[in-house]
Every structure is written in C-alpha cells, then in structure tokens.
Amino acid sequence: MAELTKPRVKVNNSAKKDEVLEVKTLISHPMENGQRRDNAGKPIPQDLINLVVATFAGKEVFRAKLAAGTSSNPYVAFFFKATGSGDLVTTWTDDAGKSISDKQTITVS
C-alpha cells in the first residue's frame, strides 16, 4: 500500500459571505487499479484512494468516491459556499482505510 503524503489544496483564504469558492486538490498516489501485472507476471493488487470528503465549519460540502478509472496522483476540484469564517477540512482515504487530512482556514469579511 502506498503511503499517503501531504496533499496540496488551493483555495482563496478570504471570501465574502456566501461566496462560492473553488477548491483544487492534488495528492500523490499510484491509484493502482488492480489491472496491471509486475515483471514476474503477478497481478499488482488494487490500491486506490477511494474517498475524498470535504467539510466546511464541520458540515460536509463535497464527497468524491474515486474508482479505478481515476488517474494516478488524483486531482479533484470542487466548490463550496463560504457561509461564514471557518475551516475547510479535506480528507483522503485509501483502500486500507488509512487517511490524511488538510485544513484551510477561510476568513469571511
């Protein structure tokens, strides 16, 4: 199973109230789809990041279930409504149940 390393998240950290902000995320991961074989002909077991969940101020704003057809180093972009100041927390989870999170603080003026 591939290690989960620090994801990258790009979002404006300041917003007007109820502004809809775009979030661009990227994480390093092979997204092994279970189709490939190694040089000895043995199947390489599936190892995917299968879930990306984003919450803002503790409430879910977006969820992605990723499958074998998503590219390695998965890029996922989405939107959320900045209803007030708060933290945008994005969490990636792999097939082994391991997860890693990123936190961005958004200030609404």
Binding site: A68, G69, K81
Partner: protein, 159 residues
C-alpha cells in the same frame, strides 16, 4: 461490449486450465480477475445501477472533455449541472462512467446545498477511444445524462 466480456471470461478459464504463460492470455486473465474484484463489470450495468427506473433527459448537464487525448493515462474532465442548489432543488450526485475501460467506474461525486455549485473536475484513465457517460441525480428524483466521445492515441490502464 457484450462480446468483449465473453471473450475475457473464456480466456480466463483457458488460462486456469492450461496455465499457459502466453503474455496475451495473461493480460486478458488479469482483466477478468479485476472485474471479479469490485463493482459493476460493464457500463450498461453501472448505468442501470444508478438510474434504476428513472428516465434521464439530456438537459442541464455539461460534460467537458478533450476531443482527442494523446495520453490515456490522464485525461482532464469536468462535469457541471445547472442548478439553484437550494434545499428544495439541488443536485445530489454526479457519476462518470467509461464505456471502453476494463472497469467502467471513474468516480461518483456528491453535492448538497452547501456545495454552492454542482460542478467538479478531475482526471480519468482511458484504455482506448470510447464514449464517456455522465449522469446527474437531482433532489426531486429527476436524472440528467450526457455522453461524449474521446479519441485516445495512447491508452492508459496499464494495458
């Protein structure tokens, strides 16, 4: 699609019986092996699982994809649906399905009124030239479906 499935299943059995080391057979067996592992085996099955008895229309939904993808390993795409995203009327989910990959599912993306917009972007793997299907489910039970063809020069999926 049906015919392709049949060939793969037969090949796997041949390999199991003969344990032939032929590379071509080994590759086909690998595909059949993975189809058993998880999820729907065909695009038709995947679409039926999402739509159930709902009849989709092609209104409101937009699927952005390049017409030609030079590298099937990473093809950028985006899906957006025109919706007010209110409590009473919003898009709940968008599903993206490949009709030509060994495994049809690319991803499912879930929204609620706090999403602000029913719009997402990501990158997909494409094994060969094929149609991509996007389906959106609305909170009022309606469904929207659209389809686009992508020409793939070099296939992805490690094939």
């Amino acid at each position: 699609m049906q015919q392709k499935m049949h060939i793969e299943v037969t090949s796997r059995r041949d390999v199991l019986l003969g344990m032939s080391a032929a590379t071509a057979l080994a590759l086909l067996a690998g595909q059949a092996y993975a189809q058993d592992a998880k999820g729907p085996a065909s695009a038709e099955e995947a679409i039926k699982l999402i739509l159930k008895d709902t009849k989709p229309t092609d209104a409101k939904i937009k699927l952005e994809l390049p017409e030609i993808a030079e590298n099937g390993n990473t093809v950028p795409f985006g899906v957006s649906v025109d919706s007010a995203m209110t409590d009473a009327d919003h898009i709940k989910a968008i599903h993206v399905i490949s009709t030509g990959n060994p495994r049809p599912e690319i991803g499912s993306y879930y929204f609620n009124p706090l999403s602000g917009k029913a719009s997402m972007a990501s990158r997909m793997r494409l094994a060969k030239t094929q149609d991509i299907v996007a389906i959106a489910e609305a909170s009022n039970g309606q469904a929207y479906m659209t389809k686009r063809t992508v020409k793939v020069t070099i296939g992805g999926c490690g094939g």
